[in-house]
């Protein structure tokens, strides 16, 4: 494999649980707990899991909207020429440069835009923050972006306010804003989960098309495995702050090895009444990882757990062949 665009190493985020204003926190939620993965230039990685598994926190750390407690976020160039640089703790002018290369698309197109700014102001803001181009050049660039995201003719959209746009159109504006600086890496946090089915596919297709044209890599955060399958080359499954399985999309979906991935997959509703789903039951619902013990995170819900899972630490991701990594002590036994 050539040099990755993004390399995340032992990334961790702990949130203190408050015990009162003047007391030192002694409890921590382990929202993201020492995860590592790589994303190649132009590749999109899907990060899937239930609410509270840490997928959004991971995304926010990668765009530096949240600071990592520990670990590294190494960022390379899209053409793989330069060395990887740790961006987990940069600030000042380095941060400005960082924002040119890494952008984000948020879940809720109704909340992620300033209602008092026109479409032009919204999309041109990254350019003015970065001091790129004259006003006229910016106008041209914004018009070109609007055309690219399917809002044409651009003149009819440039001076509209967000409330004059539908949800799908707003999300197109959000995509234009994220791509206007020509970044090499975009974190997309559930960008289609608020949209209706008929709009959803056109937005996903647009993101796939632009990924190709701009050679951008996505970290695509979603709870929906079917969406991840449509969008992503590889999938990482997260559970309570840990990545429990990662690999090629079709390999993960066709040959899930971790008990959690299998349960998740069997719970996804299938739009085909004649399809008989495998019955994989796991226990209860997701909890919070407050000061979790070192053992396997999934043990409380795992129907297969054995003595080894109680005594050993949380298992590391192990290569099961074909670039398919699983973190489970029992994979050979439960497969």
């Amino acid at each position: 494999m050539s040099q990755p665009l993004v390399k995340v190493d032992q990334l961790t985020k702990l949130f203190p649980v408050s015990r009162g204003m003047f007391r030192k926190p002694i409890d921590f939620i382990h929202a993201v707990d020492g995860i590592s993965f790589e994303i190649a230039p132009g590749e999109s990685l899907g990060l899937v899991g239930e609410s509270g598994c840490g997928k959004s926190t991971t995304g926010r750390m990668l765009v530096r909207l949240a600071d990592a407690t520990s670990g590294q976020i190494l960022l390379g160039d899209a053409d793989g020429s330069d060395d990887l640089v740790d961006v987990a703790h940069i600030d000042g002018s380095d941060m400005g440069k960082f924002r040119r290369r890494v952008q984000m698309i948020f879940q809720d197109p109704y909340e992620s835009m300033n209602p008092r700014r026109t479409v032009f102001e919204t999309i041109a803001e990254p350019l003015s923050v970065q001091n790129i181009g004259t006003l006229q050049e910016r106008e041209e660039r914004v018009s070109a972006m609007l055309k690219l995201v399917g809002l044409s003719p651009p003149e009819t959209f440039l001076f509209r306010y967000p409330h004059e746009l539908s949800g799908g159109q707003r999300q197109r504006v959000a995509i234009a804003r994220a791509l206007v600086l020509d970044p090499s890496f975009v974190v997309a946090d559930e960008p289609t989960s608020m949209l209706d089915v008929s709009i959803r596919i056109s937005i996903m297709d647009l993101m796939l098309k632009l990924a190709d044209e701009f050679n951008v890599s996505y970290l695509y955060i979603t709870h929906d495995l079917a969406v991840a399958r449509y969008m992503c080359d590889r999938i990482a499954v997260m559970y309570l702050g840990k990545i429990v399985e990662i690999g090629d999309t079709e390999e993960i979906l066709g040959n899930p090895l971790h008990p959690y991935t299998r349960a998740l997959l069997s719970a996804v509703p299938v739009p085909d009444p004649s399809f008989k789903k495998p019955d994989v039951q796991i226990l209860g619902g997701i909890t919070k990882a407050i000061n979790p013990p070192a053992r396997c995170r999934f043990i409380e819900r795992c129907p297969f757990s054995q003595a080894i899972c109680e005594v050993e630490d949380h298992p590391p991701l192990e290569d099961k062949g074909g670039d398919h990594y699983v973190a489970c002590h029992l994979v050979e036994k439960t497969a």
């Binding site: 799908g168 079917a226 719970a267 739009p271 085909d272």
Partner: protein, 331 residues
């Protein structure tokens, strides 16, 4: 065949607004027999929740029933007085709303809130011992520990709260439950658990359920019959397996083609072009024609009526025979 439990007969319902009448439910007809489940699917604003609210007569103040009837065991609900309707709610028809799990009163115990519903609606009234016994049985039925009835809502997880809502909906032995997006706010594993639970309870108790969802995959899993709504109209209805295997309305076809799945071959999805119409001024004749790839002149001038194409499969489209087979794409 015996008389259906529920007959919705040419129902037309509008919302009066300052800008004019919004045609939310337009000439919708369907029936539901005892013990059956029906799914209504469609995008936001297609009128599926308006139908649910109409069945309960819990519509907004500006809603006007223009024509049509909703008959429950032969009685037209729209002709009942407010008090008569109140007695029907919960006893005959109960509901599980979207986000109902967040509607618990935080300062009362969950069991007491269910008891309140039974005190108001269950006739003859139950003694405390009887209602306690009933709450125990309901909690067991929905997979909750009966001891939880003495707890407060914040001590429940989201999935548990939704289970308790289902217990409450079952508390007066309704004949019909309306479940409007019952699992939309839940994680996929909890969603699956609750849907399986509802299916099991339905088989055990034999009531009817109307599921309302934007997610056609959820409807595929839990219903016998599926009705597809577009812009206030029911455009296709039929046995779920039949409609999924052979969707005949272009909208159903495109909806299914644009739903990603984790099973089957990885395929390109076909987007539905355009956006749903503004119901203040819906397109004339067939409301889907501006977005329909198979539309002809007739679709723009003459409204298609629901046509039975065999086996209880009804389609409101002039050109249903032109719609390609989906079987090869889905399987």
């Amino acid at each position: 065949m015996s008389r259906p439990l529920l007959e919705v007969d040419h129902l037309v319902m509008n919302y009066k607004t300052e800008k004019g009448d919004v045609s939310a439910v337009e000439d919708v007809t369907f029936t539901l027999h005892s013990g059956e489940s029906l799914g209504l699917v469609g995008e936001s604003g297609c009128g599926k929740t308006s139908i649910a609210m109409s069945l309960l007569r819990l519509v907004a103040e500006n809603a006007v029933f223009k024509s049509g009837e909703i008959r429950l065991e032969g009685t037209n609900l729209l002709a009942l007085s407010e008090e008569e309707m109140r007695q029907r709610r919960w006893n005959d028809i109960s509901m599980v709303f979207q986000g109902a799990m967040n509607a618990w009163n935080p300062v009362y115990r969950v069991g007491d809130q269910i008891r309140e519903a039974m005190d108001l609606h269950f006739r003859p009234r139950l003694s405390t011992a009887e209602s306690n016994d009933r709450i125990d049985r309901l909690f067991n039925l929905v997979g909750l520990n009966p001891a939880m009835a003495d707890r407060y809502p914040h001590e429940f997880s989201g999935g548990m709260r939704q289970r308790a809502i289902i217990a409450m909906a079952l508390s007066c032995d309704p004949k019909l439950i309306i479940a409007d997006e019952p699992t939309t706010a839940l994680d996929v594993i909890v969603q699956d658990q609750i849907l399986q639970e509802l299916k099991k309870i339905q088989a055990e108790l034999g009531m009817s359920i109307i599921y309302i969802s934007h997610d056609i995959a959820v409807i595929a899993e839990v219903t016998d019959t599926i009705g597809v709504m577009y812009a206030g109209k029911l455009v296709e209805i039929g046995p779920t397996s039949e409609v999924f295997a052979r969707p005949r309305h272009p909208y159903t076809f495109l909806l299914l083609s644009s739903t990603p799945s984790v099973t089957g071959p990885r395929r390109k999805l076909a987007p539905l072009e355009g956006e749903p119409p503004n119901l203040l001024d819906p397109p004339p004749a067939c409301r889907f024609h501006p977005r329909c790839p198979w539309a002809t002149d007739r679709c723009r001038t003459e409204e298609p009526k629901a046509e039975d194409i065999g086996g209880g499969h009804l389609v409101a489209c002039w050109n249903w025979q032109e719609v390609p087979e989906i079987g090869a794409m889905i399987k």
